[in-house]
Amino acid sequence: MTDLQANSSSSLDTEQDTVWEQEIAFIDSVPRWIAMTFVFLVFIGTWQLVTSFGLVSPIILPTPLETLKDMIFVGQNLATGGYMLGALWITIQEVIYGFALAIVIGFSLGVLVGETAFGEKAVMPYLVAIDTMPKVAFAPLFVAWLGFGIESKVALAAFIATFPIVVGTAAGLHAADENARMLFKTMGASRMQTLIKMKLPMGLPQIFTGLKIGAVGVMAGAITGEFLGGGKGFGELIRVAASQLNTPRVFSLILYLSVVGLALYLMVQWTQRKVVFWQKESVGSYDA
């Protein structure tokens, strides 16, 4: 105590506030929009440099400007209801049907596996076994069974998207803690009541995590299905453009396709925010 007093009276001005600035490194202090623009410009700049110095053949990598021109062309075709819009609509249908199917099957299996000891013992091992297989390899089978139409693509898309939904639902049903279970038991709740009024709402964050992973998978499934099984979708347009070495077209088609994928993902996320309104943080991440 005396030490402190001696110190403060001799060397320090005790009247002054001890306000001081915490150091933040420059790289951490850059605003998000500047940082994002910067990365974008570096990307485009590198791309431009690589192409303008002729380091890569224009067939393999077109210039950014060429790609932009093609994007505008594709955009016009889509906006004016051209053949590309028809193709996009087919792919969108595959995605919607595939996702809906995956939700119904995935949720049902998830409840079976997560809620019943039978499901966990007898069904889960098989699901894990199938999940570890490269699911894309099943595409030729789906084509053989369901033909070259939209059905085989829907099947592959649903097949890929089902598993994360099963896992998410099962994990969600296990999320309820011991106290919540005991509480419901003391209230004399039936199994069905416990499932509907407690376990499912409690597990919604995990269920939505499964849905989001599924939403990404369903897109990949639909396009893979189109690559391998033909048809009239956007994947077919990409395949044709690639075979004609029309690389700018491939790029711009992928861009418009990613808009569809992003829209689906954001729809799931928006629904999650509305439904799981109490879950404030980590809504955007997988590890909910």
């Binding site: 106290n179 005991m182 004399g188």
Partner: protein
């Protein structure tokens, strides 16, 4: 000591038996561990009993058996003249965590036991009572707030209301305030005492805190582990209503020391 308080205490010890446990034992089949051995216990109407003991002394098992959550391996559990086999409407339970459901508002959480047992229309009718209970525990104005916006202490107050909404004859309390800070904990204990007296409830508290047990209880059951059994039942003849400043009286200190001595011995075994 004033005479009214003394009468209060003697009333609790001579009330009609509400809970009767006779030679209750629990052996877990999986590892043949004897969690509970030959426990006999009587809780009387309006009494407050605490059970205290080191971990593994079987107090949680005892509470679960009393609540009808798990069956005993041997012995009888009678509540209000009826054997306990499964969940009972006349039991109210509270845990260390408030366990309010985040998708329901405070009142919706409170009427949940009614909703589960009697359906939504009955729960709607019970809303009025839920409002009254919230008022009693000092949560007026928080009726339609979601649990996210409640502090730990407020959440536990709401869960007290949920426990009381079915007007249970006995309250089984599993370390209900041990997650709270000491100040809130003392306040909640006094609140609990008041509610128990007002509702003439029979309470059974599992706790780790000797002070908490002494300030609240008429009787303290001291348990020993391996196998879990009752070592001693201690009567607390402090006058009622209890106040926090009783914790500094010599009498209080004596009882605390007595129990601590027993628990230390239990630990050595």
């Amino acid at each position: 000591m004033n005479t009214a308080a003394v009468q209060d205490y003697s009333g609790a010890s001579t009330g009609a038996p509400v809970y009767e446990l006779t030679h209750v034992s629990k052996t877990y089949a999986r590892n043949q561990v004897v969690a509970l051995q030959d426990v006999s216990l009587t809780l009387r109407k309006g009494s407050f009993t605490s059970v205290i003991g080191s971990s593994g002394c079987g107090k949680s098992t005892l509470l679960k058996i009393m609540a009808g959550l798990i069956p005993p391996s041997k012995g009888r559990v009678i509540l209000q003249g009826e054997p306990v086999k499964g969940s009972r409407r006349d039991i109210g339970m509270m845990f260390q965590q408030a366990t309010l459901f985040p998708w329901k508002t405070a009142v919706e959480n409170i009427v949940l036991p009614i909703e589960i047992r009697d359906g939504k229309p009955a729960a709607k009718k019970a809303l009025e009572k839920a409002y009254e209970l919230l008022d009693i525990v000092g949560l007026k104005g928080f009726e339609n707030v979601y649990p996210n916006e409640l502090s730990g202490g407020m959440a536990q107050r709401a869960s007290i209301c949920r426990m009381l909404i079915t007007e249970p004859a006995v309250l089984l309390l599993d370390e209900p305030f041990s997650a709270l800070d000491e100040l809130s904990r003392d306040m909640m204990n006094m609140e609990l005492q008041r509610i128990c007296r007002e509702q003439d409830a029979t309470a059974f508290l599992v706790t780790h805190s000797i002070q908490e047990a002494v300030i609240l209880s008429d009787e303290i059951v001291v348990m020993k582990p391996r196998p879990g059994r009752i070592a001693e039942v201690i009567k607390v003849d402090l006058p009622r209503p209890r106040t926090l400043d009783m914790m500094t009286t010599p009498k209080f200190g004596e009882i605390v020391d007595q129990i601590r001595g027993m628990l230390d011995k239990g630990e050595d075994m």
